[in-house]
Amino acid sequence: MQPSVHVAFTLRPDKRTPGDIARIREIAVRLGLEPSGGSLATLSFRAEPDVVAKIFKTTVHAVPERPPGESDFGAAPGFSATLPARVPSELSEFVETVSVVPPARRFM
């Protein structure tokens, strides 16, 4: 089972090479994150809430499943951060921002 918090790194523009991306993933895995995606400008990871709180000096809270309403079909459950996540020193050379990605709504 994958960990539940969605974490995303926005990479510095000059650090989007395959070599740098491999290095970032390696550091992230060492920190306790599980890679879950990546593309042109960002990398995604999963981690448990306590791991996210410890690594990124933020607190995360669970966002419950949002039921369908009049204007949307609700949203899946997920997590959101109460404070901006801090980029750990090991990653600051490569990573511009760290985000805890909240669940999106399905518009009707």
């Binding site: 790194f9 995604s44 999963r46 899946a76 959101s80 399905r106």
Partner: protein
């Protein structure tokens, strides 16, 4: 030996994995559940070979001798199987596919089961028609036969058979796919010119895509499904959103190469984020990406309910990575379309680089007006950015936006929920819904037509052509919930607050490329 060289018959109702849906086929378990039967001690006749009607008085005659069963189980365990249950007439065993194939001299094939019933598993291994069946003599002299057990059906759901490829009748003005939507957007005229989106790669990121629905099968769309990280079951859509909205896109660009990127997980685990979906979509080299999901950028409580209508003035940290990925995709030549929202102050629909899809309602007599269901606002995060750019077809608030009849997985959340007001049944595989979630894939379909006609167009070119060829909409107003506390933006002659440039006109746009 009754079990020697028997040709196994394949399941008649199971469907073999389609080559077209390679990415969406569920994977069968390698562990098989097998029932083993024995021969009658009196005459050696196998239980499964008894030709007459089995009765309770006859059946006990097939009770095997204890020592025969013991020897058979020893042989089966030696071959890698484990006994999972033992009855008086048969024994249940479990084992790996490779061990089964070796012991019984056969080759199994993967079968997918239809989504029409709640099977315990959606795929399983079974001998195909005409498969070899040459059991090891050491085992065949001890047993009657060995049968792989089919996945069972949970009977808590009513089985109605597959949904109809044709939509049900409802007694109010609505549009059907593909014909009505294609005609009103003026895409049918583009199709008649031979341009149908052929070869253009379009990705759509959403809840899921149950394209085994007969509507999609009958139209023969070129569709595949990729699972974003954490998503499950490529052939299911428990919510129904992605399946329905994808029909809008394929109504406009029926020959596009459709790549559905599924986000949801129906096994109770956390599915993929929109960002993970976007990253997965980019792995498939799309020329167009359509997304009918987003965020409402007003202050909210921890449940996501608005606490104020004031718009946020800076992008929350949690969305910065998604913003960066979308910017990079557009800079790399991908046309990205997002819904403007249904009263939401929608992000990423407000990003300047995307095409923001708002809503226009077209009456039964062809009269157009801004939909009061769709968002229209000036972004406070991106100064100078107005939402929407232009519009697709969206229903009216008074009618719950019930406007476009769309195919969905029977009994899914939307099928059940919308049945409360849209005139369809809760399990018929059809629903009527069209907020700006419908508008985005309609506009994405038009983008695909333009790229089919002229592949050298940049995302900026596509947006410019679509906007300058829209039909002007002069009546109505947009959803007031999206415009702080200043009322719904009004439509009027020329570009306006409610509809942007107006309703997209696929043919007029096509003529300019």
């Amino acid at each position: 030996m009754p079990t020697t060289k028997t040709k196994k018959k394949s399941p008649t109702t199971a469907k073999r994995r389609s080559s077209k849906q390679k990415t969406s086929a569920p994977k069968p378990s390698e562990e098989l559940r097998v029932a083993v039967t024995f021969r009658r001690p009196d005459d050696g006749l196998g239980l499964t070979r008894y030709g007459a009607r089995m009765t309770s008085s006859v059946v006990m005659g097939f009770r095997p001798a204890e020592d025969t069963v013991g020897r058979a189980l020893t042989a089966l365990e030696k071959a890698g199987f484990k006994v999972s249950a033992r009855g008086r007439l048969a024994v249940s065993i479990r084992g790996r596919r490779s061990d089964f194939e070796r012991l019984f001299g056969t080759k199994l094939a993967a079968y997918n089961l239809t989504a029409d019933a709640a099977y315990s598993e959606r795929a399983f291994y079974y001998p195909p028609d005409g498969a070899a069946w040459n059991p090891d003599p050491g085992i065949s002299e001890l047993i009657d036969d060995a049968y792989i057990q089919w996945p069972h059906i949970y009977m808590d759901q009513r089985f109605n058979g597959p949904p109809s490829a044709l939509p049900p009748q409802v007694n109010y003005h609505h549009l059907r796919v593909p014909g009505d939507v294609s005609m009103v957007i003026n895409a049918a005229r583009v199709h008649r010119e031979g341009v149908t989106g052929k070869g253009v790669r379009v990705a759509m990121i959403d809840s899921g895509f149950a394209h085994n629905h007969p509507y999609f099968q009958e139209h023969g769309f070129n569709s595949s499904v990729a699972l974003a990280s954490g998503a499950s079951h490529a052939d299911r859509d428990g919510n129904g959103h992605g399946t329905g909205e994808s029909a809008n896109l394929l109504a406009i660009a029926p020959d596009a190469i459709f790549i559905g990127v599924k986000l949801d997980n129906e096994d109770g685990q956390v599915g993929a984020s929109v960002l993970e979906g976007f990253q997965e979509a980019l792995n498939h080299s799309p020329q167009v990406i359509s997304v009918s999901l987003g965020y409402d950028l007003c202050p909210t409580d921890f449940l996501g309910n608005r606490t104020s209508n004031q718009h946020l003035t800076s992008l929350p940290n949690g969305l910065k990575a998604l913003e960066a990925e979308i910017q990079a995709a557009v800079a790399n030549g991908v046309v990205v379309v997002f819904s403007a929202g249904n009263g939401h102050v929608s992000f990423p629909g407000m990003m300047p680089v995307v095409i923001s899809a708002g809503g226009v309602y077209v009456d039964v007599d062809g009269a157009m007006r801004a939909s009061d269901y769709a968002s229209a606002f000036d972004s406070r995060i991106y100064p100078g950015r107005h939402v929407p750019d232009c519009c697709g077809l969206v229903g009216l608030a008074a009618n719950h936006a019930d406007y476009v009849m769309l195919p969905i997985q029977p009994g899914c959340e939307i099928d059940e929920r919308n049945a409360q007001h849209d005139g369809t049944a809760p399990d018929d595989g059809w629903g009527v819904f069209s907020g700006t979630s419908a508008a985005a894939p309609q506009l994405a379909g038009v983008c695909a037509l333009l790229l089919a006609a002229n592949p050298s167009l940049t995302p900026a070119d596509v947006k410019q052509v679509i906007r300058r060829t829209c039909r002007d909409v002069t009546e109505g107003s947009a959803n007031p919930a999206s415009n702080e506390d200043r009322g719904g933006m009004q439509a009027g002659p020329g570009a306006d607050g409610a509809t942007g440039a107006g309703l997209v006109d696929a043919f007029a746009a096509f003529r300019q490329v």
